[in-house]
């Protein structure tokens, strides 16, 4: 007899799953437990080059309260049913809203969407997992709180909880998001509710202002992990500065990345440039202004000659350094002088401000990101190859010019082998650079999809062989990346997992942990 479910959790009989679903419905009501193919369709689509059937959920649970989640984990423990948590479900290019493994039940926390507190004076927020950046942005505007958000490029439809828990980044001075996290509430697999840091103390009013509490710092083990379900999350917000000056510095040759990084590092470490700077390759910015098909046709990666034509036609550098100054006008004037002197020395840099570039669509969306305003313009990247295929390749580099050049050259070489383009950028760091490459491919083309998978696998293999670790990865490659960090770390992760979740019900497979 055919199953009434579109998938089943690994090792769980249909009879037991029936019983679990029945109990979930007792907790959540009929309409908040989804099991039909039509209801689950939005949880299946991913941008990864693997069959969607590999990541098809068996059900989705729409919880709204901590008490419901406590009851859900009890049912999961009883029937050994694994759950996969999502908040806004917009981890595009990293797995979207689909679970890591076929048959896992998605615990969808999007309806836990309350902004619990925003403190204007202390500049912090406490929110539930389903709150989007757009929702928080509107709340801050409506209440005239004078605070800025830092968010990733999918801004409006993503949210601070999911992004920070996956250790995502933004573009303001608060761009390394987990650095600015302060206090979590976590439902553990045994149903207990932990508040981290100062939140563990009854009547404490310092949960969102002091990170460390007493004893071992725990927040980190609930990021990129499956040790608990985060139901409340505190983080710091940036007071709106009196003045803001975005700018872009363009360079014409790929080797110039060495000069860029060597020039920018001391400015970042000293705080002259305070924000998470982006050094974007021409092919990362081109989709905002140009169509790939206007410059190249047929298979293979785009030739350098075509890239130079795009640069010329659309006023792009091969590298485009987006940064900003924040503060009083006097502070900005002083720091602007330091920046222009530093970048002016070699004569290679072209420096543009809002005066020259305000109407440029690439500059305009980058400026919005650097002041925490909503924009989804970076999604133009998806039009470059079309077909909805995207994976973020995200190795970490030292903020040292020679290293960034090596990483760029190696990435480009491997992508070209598979006929794919280098759509890359370096972002964030003072001492590090997140090297972020969108591996774009046409998912409707089986050959290109196969090539993209093999390419990504080779990128991970070759980078880890050289000691370059990946900071974040999509759900199809989590085990492979976990392996690159060696057996001792994996064993510690597993030991913690066994202690906190002995039945393995919370997101098995996340970061390769089971």
């Amino acid at each position: 007899m055919a199953s009434q479910y579109i998938a089943l959790p690994k090792g769980v009989s249909e009879k037991n799953f029936d019983a679990a679903i029945r109990d979930f419905r007792k907790v959540l009501g009929e309409t908040s437990v989804l099991t039909s193919a039509e209801q689950l369709a939005p949880y299946i689509k991913t941008m990864m080059p693997v069959p969607d059937s590999d990541h098809t959920p068996s059900a989705a649970l729409l919880a709204t309260t901590v008490e419901q989640i406590q009851k859900i984990v009890a049912i999961c423990n009883q029937y050994k049913v694994p759950i996969w948590m999502i908040s806004t479900g917009k981890n595009l290019g990293y797995g979207s809203a689909a679970p890591a493994e076929r048959g896992q039940v998605v615990l969808d926390l999007k309806r836990m969407n309350r902004i619990l507190e925003v403190d204007k004076d202390l500049a912090f927020a406490l929110v539930e997992p389903g709150v989007t950046y757009q929702q928080l942005y509107d709340y801050i505007k409506e209440h005239k709180l004078g605070l800025w958000l830092s968010m990733p490029a999918p801004s409006a439809i993503a949210g601070p909880v999911g992004n920070t828990l996956d250790r995502g980044v933004g573009y303001t001075p608060y761009g390394e998001h987990f650095l600015f996290a302060c206090g979590m509430e976590v439902v553990l697999a045994n149903g207990e509710v932990l508040r981290t840091g100062m939140g563990s103390m009854p009547n404490s009013n310092t949960w969102q202002v002091f990170k460390w509490g007493y004893g071992p710092y725990l927040d980190g083990i609930f990021t990129q992990s499956n040790y608990g379900i985060v139901t409340k999350f505190g983080f710091w917000l940036m007071p709106e500065p009196p003045a803001f000056k975005p700018f872009v510095i363009q360079y014409q040759h790929e080797e110039d990345i060495v000069e860029i990084v060597e020039t920018i590092r001391p400015l970042r470490i000293s705080g002259v440039i305070p924000n998470a700077v982006v050094i974007a390759h021409a092919l990362y910015e081109a989709p905002v202004k140009a169509k790939r098909s206007d410059y190249v046709s047929g298979p293979g990666s785009i030739p350098d000659e075509a890239v130079y034509r795009i640069m010329k036609d659309h006023k792009l550098g091969i590298w485009n350094v987006y940064a900003a100054l924040y503060g009083t006008q006097e502070q900005i004037d002083v720091n602007w002088k330091i920046v222009t002197q530093a970048f002016g020395q070699s004569g290679k840099a072209k420096i543009l401000t809002e005066q020259e570039a305000a109407d440029d669509p690439a500059f305009a969306y980058r400026a919005k990101l650097m002041r925490g305003e909503m924009t989804l313009t970076e999604f133009s990247l998806y039009n470059w190859r079309g077909g909805g295929g995207s994976m973020w390749f995200a190795p970490v580099s030292q903020a040292r010019g020679s290293e960034t050049l090596k990483q760029m050259a190696l990435t480009k070489q491997i992508l070209a082998k598979y006929g794919l383009d280098y759509s890359g950028e370096f972002i964030v760091g003072m001492r590090d650079m997140h090297h972020i490459v969108d591996v774009l491919y046409d998912k409707t083309d089986p050959e290109q999809t196969k090539a993209a998978y093999q390419c990504f696998d080779e990128l991970l293999t070759e980078f880890s062989a050289r000691g370059y670790g990946t900071y974040r990865v999509n759900t199809a490659f989590m085990d492979k990346v976990a392996e690159t960090y060696g057996p001792v770390q994996r064993k510690v992760h597993k030991t913690l997992k066994k202690a906190l979740d002995p039945n393995g019900i919370i997101a098995p497979g996340k970061s390769g942990i089971r």
Partner: protein
């Protein structure tokens, strides 16, 4: 093996006890906050769709008399690079309003 089973059994018992104990923290200041709900189709369009469909990222979809049923299907399933949107993000009632807003010329300016 036996030890592992015993540990799991103890853990399961603990789970049963703990979730029946009410958590004093989770009820404070939260019952009066109903959370977010969409006002109308225009708001959803402005806060989600317009960022791509009015910004040269996705195609224009207004004033094309696209059937409401087609819009609902694309929103729920996604289409190539366009992500799918779940009922937890845009509930069925709000999706109907959104589809009407996009497909009905009179609703637009």
């Amino acid at each position: 093996m036996k030890k592992a089973k015993l540990v799991n059994c103890i853990f399961d018992c603990l789970v049963a006890i703990i979730f029946t104990i009410s958590n004093a923290w989770s009820t404070q200041n939260e019952k009066n906050n109903p959370g977010f709900a969409w006002k109308d189709g225009a708001e959803i369009y402005a806060k989600i769709c317009a960022y791509c469909h009015e910004a040269h990222v996705g195609p224009q979809i207004r004033n094309r008399e696209l059937p409401a049923a087609y819009i609902r299907t694309i929103v729920r399933n996604g289409n190539r690079a366009m992500p799918a949107f779940r009922p937890s993000e845009i509930d069925d009632e709000s999706l109907t309003k959104l589809a009407d807003f996009i497909s009905n010329k009179k609703a637009q300016h």
